[in-house]
Subunit: 284 residues, 4 copies
């Protein structure tokens, strides 16, 4: 779809008539729905939906859509987000030593696999500056130590505001981001190099090797206060065997990390991910 | 859901307001939608949807729902099917020599993994009669030769009518069912022991071995006039290597055949499969 | 191979000349090697190998092969097992409520997918007696409570001895087998309904659902003193999504449990699994 | 292993004593085998093996190993290749429009995921020259038309000789390489964007979409005179659904193409692939 669209992501206490009410809101205002998907969690009594419609022919001005929808949403007790497809989100990619996810995301963005700008790379190490220069992206080296961490996080938050960043992608960024930081800037996707919830924390490949698993995985999730415990967006796995030493697990794992992180970022940028109860609904 | 539901499967030329109109039909009649999924094929200009709602509280009597919906469907040019969850479909399982799919389907039906009766097994061989007896299912041995085939098909059609069969499952039934038969009884799911469209026809495992593939598959599809060419409902694969001889491919393949056929049958019985342009939309 | 073979499974401190020495042992005695596979764990300094050769033409009588090989093995510091393909192992399948793995293993044994006898089913519940009768297998109902457990385990050990059982398969047997039991009867394969080491212990599907994983798995492993911590023989996974409620995870998981347990049992029965450092080498 | 090794890849009519004879050749010359794997195709009567040993302590000079081994190989009727791990193979990567495989291979080579030099990129289009410059690799634009093809192939063969190229990687190179070329330069790995043998030739994603497959794949194979019919080295798949339009299949397919081609190239460079009867044995 090259024509601009609007997308509503809604979560709402389940009740009769929701599908009709929301569809009517769009239809009665001249909108043409091009994608709609919903899910009801009966146990939680929650209705979740994603609706995308063409703005062409929609008779509410953009600035007013939110207000107008809220008139319906409020009585329903609904929480909602409104996005426009021609708003280009701005990503900051955070890295440490490894470059595979960074390279992969930059390549995909250039190939227009997802719609976003990458104005900024932040790293606690200087090593990957060359890649940033190669692709004309700003690179800020912000070293982290036990003592300066909180202070550096304050600085990082300011930078994110200055650069008007919408999403932080931790692309094998190996420092733990504090709960306070995440509280202030919640839009963070992390790639963890294991099949969560197995092997939380450091050295998952070494621990996977020790455990003698026959399958390794990678998990992309929203960062939360608890390490590697946030809502999972996407996971994938690959088979391994006794022939794979730790270095082989790391090597095979990198292929997973790249593709899993990229899928998650793309799904998020397309406003296809709804979070509730520490889980995600992914409207593919 | 243990409460009875109604399901509409609709395919319709794409136009504005479809989601709203269909949702309204249900809502305005007191229905509570518990599952809704849709897909628009923009190129084909086709809108497809599955909507399921609780009959409890729905103020149209069952016998009238179709007529009432048709009043909306006709102006839209929509084709539709209406199903009720408490109508128990009747399956006829057709077999030849191999019993793995038969056993698997019977087990799942007993385990209530899908909602159907299995009143009948048809086979062109006598061998599997014992299994039928073990489970108290009628077994009809209808041998097929080049000369008697059409005549036996007439007999088979009568039997399907007498037993009020809703779905024929070709569970490694190794005779080709004629185009004429399929025309008269189109509800047929077949399991083909390859990853279609590779290795259509006989001996796919031998041919897969010759080709030296590193992955084998199985495909469940609706039978059509063209052999192994009907709309694919479900496929799955497993890795193989040079260590696998043909017998190993056959053995590993059986595990795939069982689970792929079972998934397809279950999806069909839950009215989650819509066919158009020789493809399926599966509303999982 | 229908001709009888002998198989040596050897683990040995790595040193020069091992492949040659072992191959020579067989060759110089007239043996024809039909399968050989090896693995060196350089870090652990351990060499592991599986060699299978035709007994036809081998000039050492069966009773003497072990002694003859030991003459080579001892100086090498090697541990080894010798198996003959025409020795039919005897399995005891232990169950509780669920029957899917039991049915699956019985079917495969009848279909000669693996070479073993199943003379005995043990259960802490009476429910599955009917299946045992259906297939003419002895069924012993041995109920377990907190108070009688150790005593019942003594009884179980006696029974395993009386029935000359070679392998116990815990096929969704839901009681924890004590460390003492495992010490006395170590040949036990268990199927755990998660992708270990995630979700050790009870209710893994419920916990997987809570965690919002996008993939679930099943793991077959040798039982050890630590719950669900023994050497992993085989694992496999299937994708799930927000549309899957706990019952769906359980249902999809059963398909994995069946095939993963069956693969592990078959590999073990073919003497293809070597254990070291709580990991397995699987010589497929 | 950072210490240099030698690798023998051998295929030989099956006969008694092969494992012993070959292992003895290495052992008796002071070699320490670090990896050995074998496979017997009983039907074809063929024995295939890969043996890798440390050159340190091996008492035959490199130049003589081949001759010495041939003394054993010839009476056995064996075909064999000898490789040294410190010989760095030289790759030429051929491209057309798409850059994803090219980028991926260059990244992996820089990351030392495989041991090779990439001195040359050849393309029938000028577009990807920038990438070559970015990474300091020679780029030769050799346009192909119906009329100049054979003449350009002569030129290409000369270039491959001048650059001392050991392996040509067709990385989404969209011209068909003639049988004559392949005859003169057989070391060619191609990535085909389907799960062979499905969708041979052009536009496999469009045809996969038409067929309504639920899984797409990519296949890396040695190029032979018959299009997309050469021995398969590696394949992999990903699930798709009705929600995926052709562009989505292409996008998802690219991820497969990258990783499948990379695995195949790495396996080949490590001398782990033996070809016979249009199939490969991959000694992982």
């Amino acid at each position: 779809m090259t024509k601009p669209t609007a997308t509503l992501l809604i979560s709402c206490p389940d009740q009769r008539g929701l599908v009709a009410k929301i569809a009517n809101f769009i239809y009665s205002n001249g909108g043409n729905i091009i994608h709609a998907d919903q899910h009801t969690d009966f146990e939680a009594g929650l209705f979740l939906t994603r609706i995308e419609w063409l703005l062409e022919g929609f008779n509410l001005p953009r600035d007013f859509i939110g207000t107008a929808f809220n008139a319906i949403a409020q009585p329903l007790g609904a929480k909602w987000e409104l996005h426009f497809s021609d708003t280009v989100p701005r990503l900051a990619i955070w890295v440490s030593h490894q470059d595979h996810c960074l390279f992969d995301l930059i390549w995909r963005q250039r190939a227009k696999e997802f719609n976003a700008e990458i104005p900024l790379i932040i790293s606690n190490h200087p090593h990957l500056q060359g890649i940033a220069e190669q692709f004309g992206i700003e690179y800020l080296h912000i070293p982290i130590t036990k003592d300066n961490k909180l202070e550096q996080e304050v600085k990082q938050l300011e930078i994110l505001r200055d650069y008007k960043i919408d999403l932080v992608v931790l692309a094998k960024y190996m420092q733990i981001v504090s709960a306070d930081f995440i509280n202030k800037f919640p839009q963070i996707i992390n790639i963890h190099h294991s099949f969560l919830p197995a092997f939380i924390g450091a050295n998952p490949y070494h621990r996977a090797f020790e455990r003698g698993v026959k399958i390794i995985g990678a998990t992309a999730h929203y960062a939360t206060a608890d390490l590697d415990a946030g809502p999972i967006i996407e996971q994938d796995v690959v088979r391994v065997s006794h022939r794979d030493e730790v270095d082989d697990l790391i090597r095979k794992g990198k292929d997973l990390e790249r593709v899993v992180l990229a899928r998650a970022v793309r799904l998020h940028l397309q406003n296809r991910v709804l979070v509730y109860k520490n889980r995600t609904v992914v409207f593919e």
